[in-house]
C-alpha cells in the first residue's frame, strides 16, 4: 500500500451499531443480514458439513475431532482471555472427562447419553477442586502449575496402576448411530459457543474480565475473586471434560494418553491462529489446523515439521489472529482521507 503524502487511512464502522437498553437497534433487512450473515454461515456450515462429507467418511470423523478440539480451544480462550488464567492444562480436563465417562460406562454400565453429561459436570467439579489451591497464583506461575497437573495425573494412574493402568479403559461404548456421533460434538460446540458469548458480555463476564485486568481493584470493590476464578475454572474445565468424554466414546477407549500434551498445546495454537479473545476464533483455528494436520498425515515423519512451519506462518503473518482480522475487515471499511 503506497504511502501517500498528506493522506491517512481512516477506518469507519460499517454497521450502525447502536446500543440502546441492551438490544441492537436494527433498521433494515440489510442490517439484519449484515449482523446475522456471518453467524448463520458458521452455524449452517457446521450443521451441513457432515452431509456434504457423506462420501468421505474419514473427513466426517475428522470433523468430530475438530469439534472436540474446538471445545478445548474455546475453553482455553475463555479462561485465558476473559479471566486471565492461562491454563496449559487442557489435557487434564480431557483426561478427567474421558476417565469419568468411560469408567461410568464400563464399570456401572451407564449408557453414553448419561455418562457424557455426568462426566461434564462432575469432571468440571473435580478439576475445579484440584485447581482450587492454585487460584491465587498469577500469570506464568499458574500456567506452569496447570501444565503439571496432566503430567501428574498420568503418572499417578500409572504408578498406582489404577483404572486399567497403562492399558487404559477398554471396551468403552461407541456411538451407536453415526448421526449422533457426528452431530453431538457439533451441537455441543454451537450451543456452548452461544452460551459463552452471552456469558462474557453479561455483567458476570465483565467482572471476570475485570479480574484479568486488575484483580486488586476487584477486591477493593468487595468481590471475592477466588470464587469468581473458581466459577470460571469450573465452566472452562467442564468444557474440557465434555471434550474428553466425547473423545473417549469416539475412540471407544480411554487411557493415559488422554493426558498428553497435545491436548493442551493444539487448542492454544488454534486460539492463536484463530484470534484470541474472540471465542469464535479458536473454533476457526481448529477448523483450519486439524484438517491441515490430517492432510499432512501422508507426509509421514515430515508431517510435524510441515505443520509447525504452517503454524508459525499463521502466527507471524496474521499475528492478531484470523478472526480479529476478518472481523475488522467485515465491520469496518477503510479509505484515504486528506489530513
Amino acid at each position: 500500500m503506497a504511502k501517500r503524502a498528506n493522506q491517512r487511512k481512516e477506518r469507519i464502522d460499517r454497521g450502525i451499531k447502536v446500543r440502546a437498553d441492551g438490544v441492537y437497534a436494527i433498521s433494515s433487512w440489510q442490517e439484519i443480514g449484515f449482523l446475522v450473515g456471518p453467524r448463520l454461515t458458521l452455524i449452517l456450515g457446521l450443521l451441513l458439513l457432515p452431509l456434504v462429507l457423506t462420501t468421505a467418511p474419514y473427513w466426517q470423523s475428522v470433523l468430530g475431532i475438530v469439534c472436540i478440539y474446538s471445545l478445548l480451544a474455546v475453553s482455553f480462550d475463555f479462561l485465558a482471555h476473559y479471566v486471565g488464567l492461562v491454563s496449559l492444562g487442557g489435557a487434564f480436563f480431557v483426561g478427567v472427562g474421558a476417565y469419568i465417562s468411560s469408567l461410568l460406562n464400563v464399570e456401572l454400565g451407564l449408557p453414553l447419553f448419561v455418562t457424557i453429561p455426568l462426566a461434564t459436570v462432575f469432571g468440571g467439579a473435580f478439576c475445579t477442586l484440584c485447581f482450587w489451591p492454585c487460584l491465587p497464583l498469577r500469570g506464568v506461575y499458574f500456567a506452569i502449575v496447570s501444565l503439571m497437573f496432566p503430567l501428574l495425573a498420568a503418572r499417578v494412574i500409572e504408578a498406582l496402576d489404577i483404572f486399567g493402568g497403562t492399558d487404559g479403559v477398554l471396551g468403552v461404548e461407541g456411538f451407536s448411530s453415526s448421526f449422533a456421533e457426528h452431530y453431538l460434538p457439533i451441537a455441543s460446540v454451537l450451543v456452548l459457543l452461544f452460551f459463552l458469548r452471552r456469558l462474557v458480555n453479561e455483567d458476570l463476564g465483565l467482572v471476570l474480565r475485570g479480574v484479568k485486568d486488575n484483580d486488586q481493584a476487584v477486591k477493593a470493590s468487595g468481590i471475592n475473586i477466588n470464587h469468581l476464578k473458581a466459577l470460571a475454572v469450573f465452566i472452562s474445565s467442564s468444557l474440557g471434560c465434555l471434550a474428553g468424554a466425547l473423545l473417549c466414546h469416539v475412540n471407544m477407549w480411554a487411557g493415559l494418553s488422554q493426558f498428553a500434551l497435545d491436548f493442551s498445546i493444539l487448542p492454544i495454537a488454534a486460539t492463536v491462529v484463530g484470534g484470541s479473545g474472540t471465542l469464535v476464533g479458536p473454533v476457526l483455528g481448529c477448523l483450519i489446523l486439524v484438517p491441515v494436520s490430517e492432510l499432512l498425515r501422508d507426509f509421514g515423519t515430515l508431517r510435524i515439521v510441515a505443520y509447525a512451519v504452517i503454524l508459525t506462518g499463521f502466527i507471524v503473518f496474521k499475528s492478531e489472529g484470523l478472526m480479529t482480522y476478518a472481523a475488522r475487515k467485515y465491520n469496518q471499511f477503510e479509505r484515504w482521507v486528506d489530513i
Binding site: R8, I12, S319
Partner: protein
C-alpha cells in the same frame, strides 16, 4: 537546537495533536501546560519517538491506527523517523508519565540501567548528583523499585532519566505525587540542571504553579492545539492562563 513543526497525531480517527509547533533553544526550559487530555503526553511521546514504537505495537496487534505527521529536528538533523533509541543516543531523553520504573530492579540498579548510554565516569558523577537532588533515594538504594512509594518512584524515574546524560530532557508530569517540598526542590533542580549541565528541558505539567517561575518559554495546549505561547512573563500576565492554572 530543537524544533518541531506542524506535529499532528491521530489515534484512529481522533485528532490528539493538531498542528503543534514548538521550539527549544540551547539551555532553555520550555513549559507545556494543559488540562487533562490536552495532549501533553502524546506530544512528549512524539518528541521522544516512543510514538513510533506505540504505532508499531498497535499495528502488530491489528488495533487502532496511529498516524504521525510533522517534522522534528534536533541539532540541525531531522529525527522524526528515527527510532527512540537513536534519539536517546543523540541526547533526547524522556522521563515518561506514570513513573515507569523497573519494578524488579533495586533503586541502584534502576539508575545503573539508566546509565546505559553514559560512560563510567559520567555515571558515577551523575549518580552522586541524583542523590544530591533526591537525598531520599540514597537511603533506599537496595529496595526494589516496585516497592517504592509513589513519590519515591517519581524521584527515581527523574533520576534515571538524568543518568542517561540528556542534552534535551523531556519531563512528563514530573510533579505528580511529590510532596510540596520535593516539588519545590525539583523545580529548583530543573533550573540547576539546565545551568550546570547545559541541558535543555521541556516540562509538561498541568500543575503549573511550581514550574511557571522557572521556564523561559511556555505553551498552553488545549484539545491538542497550542493555543497560547509566550515567554514566562507573558504567560503569567495572561488572564486566561492565570485563571486556569493558578486558581484564585
Amino acid at each position: 537546537m530543537f524544533e518541531a513543526n506542524g506535529l499532528m497525531v491521530f489515534y484512529e480517527n481522533m485528532l490528539a495533536l493538531n498542528n503543534v509547533s514548538l521550539a527549544c533553544g540551547n539551555e532553555q526550559i520550555i513549559g507545556v501546560f494543559g488540562a487533562n487530555s490536552a495532549g501533553k503526553s502524546t506530544l512528549m511521546y512524539t518528541l521522544a519517538g516512543i510514538m513510533l514504537d506505540i504505532r508499531k505495537k498497535e499495528q502488530m496487534a491489528g488495533g487502532e491506527r496511529i498516524t504521525l505527521r510533522g517534522e522534528i529536528s534536533f541539532q540541525g538533523e531531522r529525527v522524526e523517523d528515527a527510532k527512540p533509541s537513536v534519539r536517546a543516543k543523540a541526547g533526547i531523553i524522556l522521563c515518561p508519565e506514570r513513573r515507569r520504573i523497573f519494578p524488579e530492579s533495586s533503586v541502584l540498579e534502576n539508575l545503573e540501567i539508566g546509565s546505559y548510554l553514559a560512560t563510567r565516569e559520567q555515571a558515577e558523577e551523575t549518580l552522586e548528583y541524583v542523590f544530591e537532588i533526591f537525598p531520599a533515594l540514597k537511603a533506599i538504594t537496595r529496595r526494589l523499585g516496585g516497592f517504592l512509594s509513589g513519590g519515591e518512584q517519581q524521584m527515581l524515574a527523574i533520576g534515571r532519566a538524568l543518568m542517561a546524560q540528556p542534552k534535551l530532557l523531556l519531563l512528563d508530569e514530573p510533579l505528580l505525587g511529590l510532596s510540596p517540598a520535593i516539588q519545590y526542590l525539583l523545580a529548583k533542580s530543573i533550573k540547576e540542571i539546565k545551568e550546570q549541565r547545559k541541558t535543555s528541558v521541556i516540562v509538561a505539567e498541568q500543575y503549573a504553579r511550581p514550574i511557571m517561575p522557572i521556564i523561559d518559554h511556555g505553551y498552553i495546549l488545549e484539545n491538542g492545539s497550542a493555543v497560547v505561547e509566550g515567554g514566562r512573563r507573558e504567560l503569567m500576565d495572561n488572564p486566561d492562563v492565570k485563571n486556569a492554572y493558578f486558581g484564585t
